[in-house]
Symmetry: C2
Subunit: 183 residues, 2 copies
Amino acid sequence: MSLDREELLGTAAEVLTRRPTSSMDEIARAAGISRATLHRHFAGRDALVRALEDLGLRRLDAALDAARTEEGDAAEAVRRVVAQAEPLAGFLAFLVTENQLFEPGEQHPGWERIDARIAALFRRGQDEGTFRIDLTPAWLTEALYALITAAAWAVQDGRVAARDSVRMTVELLLGGARRSMER
Amino acid sequence: MSLDREELLGTAAEVLTRRPTSSMDEIARAAGISRATLHRHFAGRDALVRALEDLGLRRLDAALDAARTEEGDAAEAVRRVVAQAEPLAGFLAFLVTENQLFEPGEQHPGWERIDARIAALFRRGQDEGTFRIDLTPAWLTEALYALITAAAWAVQDGRVAARDSVRMTVELLLGGARRSMER
DNA sequence: AGCATACGAGACACGAACGTCTCATCGATT
DNA sequence: AATCGATGAGACGTTCGTGTCTCGTATGCT
């Protein structure tokens, strides 16, 4: 009956991904515990969201590790990143919109590190001559996030087949980032 | 002092674009009227959001008209669409996230028409041989929305220069959509 | 068996935002 | 000048989510 704190975070992420406005009570019910117990684990909604932010960063970090961003062809590495990050899309979208509500400047510093890892991948591709240099790594990173979440929503709404999601995302992203001579 | 209903909608759109959680009172203050008067124009928050949805659709429609989506080279038409829609990015992002909270199925039917107009442009490009056919028009439409809003956020956060916004968006989108032989 | 810890259920107060209403005032029209 | 309509200010009740608390119970450990 009693859940590990980590599992608790997992189900909270699930519920809030489905409906970002879910109340503490709904989250507790979904986890099979009472609201009181949820409060015993997390002081309040803020604390829970902060913990979820940590979880998201850990998961994304793990995804980047699994994608081996520093190995092999940069384009292939991007493909692996998209494939690894795709299951996290909905959850990350929740965190982003949640961050949007906070005051600017107090965002979790962990995001910068993640951004830097992805941007470094694009920069490597530019240095190796695979990616065009007239699009900045920062923009390509932003576009990667945007396309992954867009693909997740499109799948959820039935506008894109789930099995095509990763391919569509990667093809559009790489097609834009790849230099013409590499095609 | 007294505002036209249309101007009222405009400032409401502005305020909610900046902070999607703004209260009715904040919206009224920003428009220079009282909460009571705001309620005289719009029965409630729901009604206001619906009216804003209409406004967004009208603006986007006008943007597509101005972009002359059915004229000339499809790639150039896409460029014009992005340029025309870019100023609407923040506002549209608000509407999308607001729609996300509604129950599925009760979304404004106007969106389908807009989607169809943009998808038709991509389909035309495919028929004319300018765009690759392994990415569906529906996905390219989705990607267009996603990249425009991503660019707006990136500009707002200082990660992309405002004057590069349209170019970066178009280059990435077209680079991905354009067939390799067209490069 | 005894005890400690964690849990569920529920009650309570607080705050925020909403929707409704009243009333006084201001301005424009006639 | 008189009147009508729209407005601003504010009070009021309601709803919803939150955070805190208590109390009875169950689970698990010694």
